[in-house]
Point group: C2
Chain length 248, copies 2
């Protein structure tokens, strides 16, 4: 079994308290940037890797996607997603992202939101997604930024009064496990460099269409004062990639 913190009841309960879980996509600071990278979804077969509560699958259907499949390792997540879903064109499958095997060309768009930094074999996932996409298909993903994941601590460097002095980077080239705290529990992440994320997609056959290191909108900065530090270092890296429309 791959890492599955979400079936730990205490962790799952804590996750449910996060506004991005309870309120949905509009409570996720990076959602406007991720949405901007998504292709037109109308009539598309959409795959979501690490679907959680299923918010992105439901968004895809709001955009008139033909169908949406959410994949997640957590039975608790999928139970919640099924409970919140009333749409026969959305289905959920319990599986570790690392274990997906996709029929060739079965999807028109794939997305993965903040899941792939928990996955050891990003290369294998990219190859499977490339295979699973029809020609012209899109793969849009977000991960925690390599600047954010470089150290186990994944925290600011503080001054004597507890002020945030700067964001420390160390061990950037050491692409391996980071053991860090999330929602009061230890989780295992895989730190990869920015070039590894991009080159692994290229090696799988993808074209790179866009990178994004989103920052809070002026509205967010005005309404959530703590967000001001989010301009000081990037927390997420978003990548839009695509499979050539012609046969290669």
């Amino acid at each position: 079994m791959k890492q599955n913190k979400y079936d730990d009841p205490a962790f799952f309960a804590a996750y449910g308290q996060m506004s991005r879980s309870a309120v949905g996509l509009d409570a996720a600071g990076e959602w406007p940037a991720l949405r901007a990278l998504l292709p037109e979804l109308r009539g598309k077969r959409v795959l979501d890797l690490g679907c959680g509560y299923g918010w992105h699958c439901r968004y895809a259907r709001e955009q008139q996607a033909l169908s949406a499949l959410g994949v997640d390792i957590s039975e608790s997540m999928l139970a919640k997603a099924r409970e919140m879903t009333d749409d026969p064109a959305i289905s959920y499958r319990r599986q570790a992202i690392e274990d997906i095997e996709l029929d060739e060309g079965a999807y028109d768009a794939a997305l993965s939101s903040l899941a792939l930094h928990y996955v050891e074999r990003f290369d294998a996932v990219c190859r499977q997604v490339y295979r699973g996409l029809a020609p012209g298909g899109s793969f849009v993903l977000s991960v925690e930024h390599p600047i954010f994941t470089s150290r186990d601590e994944q925290d600011w460097h503080y001054g004597p009064q507890g002020e945030r002095l700067h964001w420390p980077v160390d061990g950037y080239q050491d692409e391996s496990v980071r053991r860090t705290r999330f929602l009061g529990h230890e989780v295992v992440k895989y730190h990869r460099t920015a070039s590894t994320y991009v080159n692994t997609l290229l090696d799988a056959g993808f074209r790179i269409d866009r990178l994004s290191e989103p920052q809070p909108t002026p509205e967010m900065l005005a309404s959530v004062p703590e967000m001001k530090d989010e301009t000081r270092r990037p927390i997420f890296l978003l990548i839009a990639a695509s499979k050539s429309a012609s046969n290669q």
Copy 2:
């Protein structure tokens, strides 16, 4: 006149002391990574933006490039380059990189080594290089990494014994001037995010072929002990991009 520190005699003298100036490409830690990104140069018309002493132009000719043009803002640099060059297929032109105007399709490969973070309008340079490349042409560039340029200080965070604790990142999203010290002089750099470097190339029409955040080779680590800290944060970002071989 755009920034031209190299015609300040003291700065130029200090630059001449750097081993990458005096010894050439093999003394530049990132050269193996940059060379690996370059296309086959045989028979190509090569452009080097920020050519300095002309080492890359001479390398291109060693690789049997048809011709090489080096562009640099510094008269001192170009005088040195001309003094060191005995090859009628290499020419040098004094011009700020920002001011280049290239004939359409006049070059097969363009490169720029550690110059473009001194240039304010990366977008304009990308558009000119795209125009100046023939279909299928390559653009390979290196810049100081956004992790390196985010703060004016561009230095480690030190502990009480002067030990390097970590590399501080701050102001990452603030894409603007950084005033920093290089060779004992103040120089002006332009901090840009990694996504801006990539997206600006995409917006100019380029395809992204490779990113690289090079680290010292095991041989370098063994022979130059101070290099060990170079694995802790990336200092350079290298990008290989190309213009489609078919008409778009």
